[in-house]
Symmetry: D2
Subunit: 370 residues, 4 copies
């Protein structure tokens, strides 16, 4: 795992730049025989796509995925799968005024210090656009996991800025632009909140939750490739994420052990404070992950900064930006979770495919299968 | 990075078992020429050691480290460094009653489902004792980083169960058994809290903070080996950790972009909401990391569970355990942070050693040097 | 390093298929600041290109490389470099008769047994065409190494079938289609040999040599990432290679130690039986590598085989093939050697950039520099 | 795979130094449930051991292996297996005269240039003694492979210096000190040859062959983790190896394609010029590997060299050394081959465990099984 490559066995190498001709990824290690076409991938890309509501960046990228290799007669061949997404809507001129300055909260300054160069073109490799190929790769993993183990993934927003979103109904998630599991009243509240925010030129953060259900029990490789450690790595690596929780997360600080430890009954686990991971391995319960997304750094309000010579200046960002990056992050977080689970299922197969236990897992759980 | 090996260039392979004859690690890739002896490593191990107060596990392990290889005439040779810590105080009999059951909140059940075997000996590879070799390796990294870049590491407890610990004075951290940066009054409060907890037979969680100062700017390798992603991976991989934050962490959810974005002035950054990482690279500001540690699962209060045949049973844990695992975790978290920073400094050297910028970093910052 | 990714720090991920729309690679970890354009890469691709003489496959692929990312204002940015080569001349129909059979000497049978699928399209991922992106990546490495350390690479054929090619003159290598360091007489002999071979419908093997000059001393990481081990890995991985030698190679079997050990004098090494590697590290002398390339398996002469049902059949291959694969392999072997050296220079920088020796290397040698 | 760690899924980290207190390895990723004890490992170590005949180094190391972790009640647990071999017979004083000089043919000079330090203690990490832990790890792999797939490994010497050893009888291999598959007459010839060599104070090289039988078909991961590429990497990484061949090796240079391509019949392959690998994947036929081992560089005859100041000097090596390193290398080469095959079987399981082909492999072949 290094730089642009994610995963050990289900390996995804991400390439391309936000304002180059195309972005994409190469998936190495996908099991052969999986039926796969662009139609399996496009829906998740559409969920992520900018321009789907007035609340997100007004940029019209169709994000149409093409499978360039690794599939023959509709099935994966086991050889690398190359997915390509062409960039169509690039407006370099929107970035003209930042050529020599560093935007507070952005990677401009850090990239410059590391590489000795200033590449101002819309974020380049720090752009959130590069999450699109990961969403595409995640869709491939999701399909295989769903077919092989019945594993499914879901995600939703739990808080947008000051507005807490109680969980009402999962069926509402695809119906509103916020991925909120909530009814009309809450959605209206969110819309009003966002409209006010946009007018102010400012931005705000968000809290999301992603879950995986039907996860085989026993995934994870201590000491350092524990399932939760790899999940944390994947989540914190998503642009703008500043916090990751598994299960009750920071809520465990005040919990007692008598309360936190999830009891086991023949009928299954009695609770899930652990969030589906114990000792770094999956318990078979739902994997529950929460992430904190910081407010967009590109805002219309001026911020103090310096230029390359170290002289003071001011920065105001124009152009197209998300007032709340978190609104589009749910499909990304789901995809990253799917990639981690996929990688760990393959790792399990490598080491433990012939482990046979005489008793099944607890009720409602799935044993991994080779 | 896989299983028992941590890091890409400063690679630490952890070996041994909690109740075996010894534990240790192999450090591969350490730069040559560093003056190193056991005396550089032992202090951090002592800080972590059980039996240093009545609030932690009463087990008397001297945790004396021995350097078996990789050092000649007092300096690292560049060849692998093997550090060994012999186990002296093992009481297998304390674990006799768990042979056939699974302790809620422990890795027993998950290990059994993955490996098809039940190894009841004191946690085996899931034991927190295996953090000792990482603390040892971290001490080596700390020394090199301090000599080469002036980087230093510190850590402290910010909350123990219900008791919030406001930051008073860093000099107090080594003076009390809680790694609390607080004076006598607060320490007395913590001691009383812990005494009551021990009597009750229960346990509680904790919140810790670790910081790195004098971190060179520009460390981290997008997309997937971002500095914060690797930090999250290292922290979440520590036993009992359920949440990780960088900078303001989950506090960013309600922040406005106008507030969150750290402004830059010729004199340096004006704030550090980012916690020292932007776009996945270090900004040169203090790296600030917080972690949530769950309450110990080994408590004297009975919990419902099942045995291997799936029949209901009860579990009470006797023997020696920490009523609050978080109390000893500070040196561990510091060590893991040091290992991540070390690995990234070496990665920086590989790719960017010849990058030369005409202007220095912002005031108070350090440029990495080859 | 796994599957489609080569290298640890200078990482090249190869993608695409022989008969797909394009092939290419992603280079991760390239140092920033290197001046790079397509003009730096195209010449090596042209050397490798099919259709440059009547002795190689008559297929007209321009193999024009495009830099899709990683370069800004003519210099590498330090972010991933994506190189694309579009396929233009694909004749699937030439492969129609092999749909259900397995060609002896080809990967057909082994791929089918591993993946459970038969993908007959011109070799797919087993095609030698996939060496083109590696040649492109190798050109990038060559440029950086040449600029930074004065390292250069060369290669030539030492034997074609039964015809031994004594070394006459390096300047002749680009002048004839065989990469032979020989004058007109020998070239004429080779041409006649090849014409006879083509008429017969058969094929023959070849022996090549590649050298690197001006290699910094001290590259290589024992135990398992020794420079020669990584070179062997890279060379044996080239299609059709069945043997690899360093220095005197199999000639060492009969050598005495009194003869083999290269003596050191203040003026430099007295000989180079070692081929530039000792103890797995570079000595600073020329790296000398030889490889054996097997005869093409695609010949017009019929061979016995089986089909997927296990029934006997015969196979004759029509279409466009190299009567001697070895003729085009020299640029490929050079490229792979450059990639290995590049990776090791970066590794050296990571671990040893601050090692300073008071005395210079032996005369004529280069010390690595950060 | 880096430095001291070998393999991707069956990972072996080698630690310790030739003249330190102990050497050993950590095996990560071993499947659980394998019955394992020291008795499974010791025989291969004994085969490798010095002091077993007058023809090898007179050093009395019992090389007794101890299993420190990873086994419970006689079976592997799936957690890391630590194998330890204590050094008992160390004579540092034998190396006193090389403190400031560099022995031609040894790694002394290259290590000094890389690390900036001169560690004269008997080779340190460049010593062939460090192959012992790999032999131990290889024994674990051999057992699992033999139980799971019926795979077996064998090795023998095919040439010692000028003396060619035709293959007569595999049963003779363990009977003579040369691992020669030959009868008394040839053995006597070899003994006389060696006696003369020892008297002369010189050394000579050797050629070995190792084979694996009952190898599942379809192992290997193109492009870069082809089975033959990984075999070459493992073999060339063995101390003193300068050449590696698969199948007919350099013999393919003069072969015609009509002869080289192994035909397939319902009864199986008709020949094995390929040596068991096609397109980088195993064919199911015997894996046949040959290696060239250079003559020992430590000889009693003086060689010209320089000291650290670059001044000319002479080097004669006293102490205990092998006059022909190749004599003990057979168990090492077998072990490395076993480790590569093991790693690839686990990789196969990860990606292809659910691939089901309706027809079995060719007669006499084994399909891999999860």
């Amino acid at each position: 795992m290094s730089g642009s490559t994610f995963g050990l066995l289900f390996r995804v190498t991400n390439f391309g730049e936000s304002h180059g001709p195309a972005i994409g990824c190469v998936i190495d290690g996908c099991p052969p025989g999986l039926e796969l076409s662009e139609a399996d991938i496009q829906p998740d890309l559409d969920r992520r796509r900018p321009g789907t509501s007035r609340h997100v960046t007004q940029r019209n990228e169709p994000d149409a995925v093409e499978i360039l290799s690794g599939v023959y007669e509709g099935k994966t061949t086991g050889t690398p799968i190359c997915l390509l997404i062409r960039n169509t809507d690039q407006r370099s001129k929107d970035y003209g005024n930042i050529l020599d300055t560093f935007r507070p909260g952005h990677a401009d300054y850090t990239y410059w210090r590391r590489y000795g160069l200033r590449d101002p073109r819309g974020g380049g490799r720090s752009s959130a656009r590069l999450t699109a190929p990961m969403v595409a790769a995640g869709a491939v993993a999701k399909k295989w996991l769903q077919q092989r183990h019945g594993t499914t993934f879901a995600g939703w927003m739990t808080q947008l800025g000051d507005v807490v979103i109680p969980f009402e109904d999962e069926a509402q998630i695809p119906v509103n632009p916020f991925f909120a599991p909530a009814g009309e009243a809450k959605v209206a509240e969110l819309e009003a909140y966002m409209d006010a925010l946009r007018k102010s030129g400012d931005s705000v953060g968000a809290r999301l939750k992603v879950v995986a259900r039907g996860v085989p029990v026993g995934l994870g490789e201590p000491l350092f490739d524990k399932l939760d450690a790899d999940i944390a790595h994947a989540m914190m690596g998503i642009n703008a994420v500043k916090g990751v929780e598994i299960g009750d997360g920071f809520g465990v600080v005040t919990q007692r052990g008598s309360e936190h430890g999830d009891e086991m009954l023949p009928a299954g686990f009695a609770s899930n404070h652990a969030g589906g991971v114990l000792g770094g391995l999956s318990t078979g319960q739902d994997l529950e992950v929460s992430i904190a997304i910081k407010p967009t750094s590109s805002i219309r309000l001026p911020k103090a900064s310096v230029n390359r010579a170290g002289e003071p200046t001011t920065v105001e960002t124009f152009g197209r930006h998300d007032p709340c990056v978190g609104i589009r992050a749910t499909p990304i977080a789901e995809a990253m979770l799917a990639l981690v689970v996929m990688d760990h299922v393959l790792r399990w197969r490598a080491q433990c495919a012939d482990v046979a236990l005489p008793v099944p897992p607890l009720a409602g759980q799935i044993a991994p299968q080779a």
